[in-house]
Assembly symmetry: C2
DNA sequence: ACGAAAGTTGACGTTCACGTAAGTTGAACG
DNA sequence: CGTTCAACTTACGTGAACGTCAACTTTCGT
């Protein structure tokens, strides 16, 4: 048994901490492609990988539409190879976005840390009030 | 003249590439506090700094409400010092969020770059088709 | 002094990303 | 066989973050 080839919608919800509605919504937006057994959805390993990336990218502030474009890169093998180059270019832009974002994030982290150091000093002073005045 | 102490709403729009509606909306949500000259808004240096941070944080996927909390750290001097500690704790969480996010972002960037290397190889092969078959 | 330009306040509309409720279907269990 | 339960579809509702339009007032140039 290789990690149970398929997951039900409920199992997906538990694993990824999302609602069933969300998974159906993502399917409707062509972000996920669960196979059907009767009318029930079964999520493949590929769906799990995609969902992981979706949730991650969301935390970076990407829209679902942007994520969909990004995801295209991860399943080129399914597609016509004629699309590779176009997809590659999209990926280049996304990558640049992400690198810019990381740089900004680094800056923001530094900023915040500085502010917090300053706040620490203030709080320190607040704990020993008027130490010099006596 | 020290960088023109105040900016009109239109100047703000041009500088930060946002709409007037957005600025008024941010004010209504207490993210910005432009002073009034008559009924016109004048944006201070502090508003400009705040807006910069707002737009930056938005790109990280923070909600405006989260941003508002974050911004509180940046104007503690205006507030009661009793609030410092609370604000400091909020900031700690945000900082942790941001660091986690950066780690994930790094991972995502690596992933994407790997995929792109793979795509490059495919494209390379596509340029010289069946080189080995002849 | 007057008309255009810029700014203001409502108030309603829109898009995204789901939430939620109502009714249906299919497998499963006592 | 009835019912219970999970999953399904359809459809309307919701909060966040603005867009857009209407109807003022204020200011500025000629």
């Amino acid at each position: 048994m290789m990690t149970e080839k398929f997951l039900t919608i409920r199992e997906m919800c538990d694993v990824f901490d999302v609602t069933a509605r969300t998974l159906r919504f993502y399917e409707s937006k062509e972000l996920l492609f669960p196979v059907r057994q009767g009318q029930k959805r079964l999520f493949t390993k590929r769906d799990r990988a995609r969902l992981k990336l979706i949730l991650r990218a969301k935390r970076f502030g990407f829209s679902l539409e942007q994520v969909r474009q990004l995801l295209d890169l991860y399943h080129i093998d399914d597609q016509q190879q004629t699309q590779i180059r176009k997809t590659y270019e999209v990926a280049c832009e996304r990558l640049a976005d992400m690198q810019r974002q990381r740089d900004e994030l680094d800056a923001a982290i530094s900023d915040l840390q500085e502010q917090m150091n300053w706040a620490e000093k203030i709080m320190q002073a607040d704990e020993n009030p008027k130490q010099a005045a006596e």
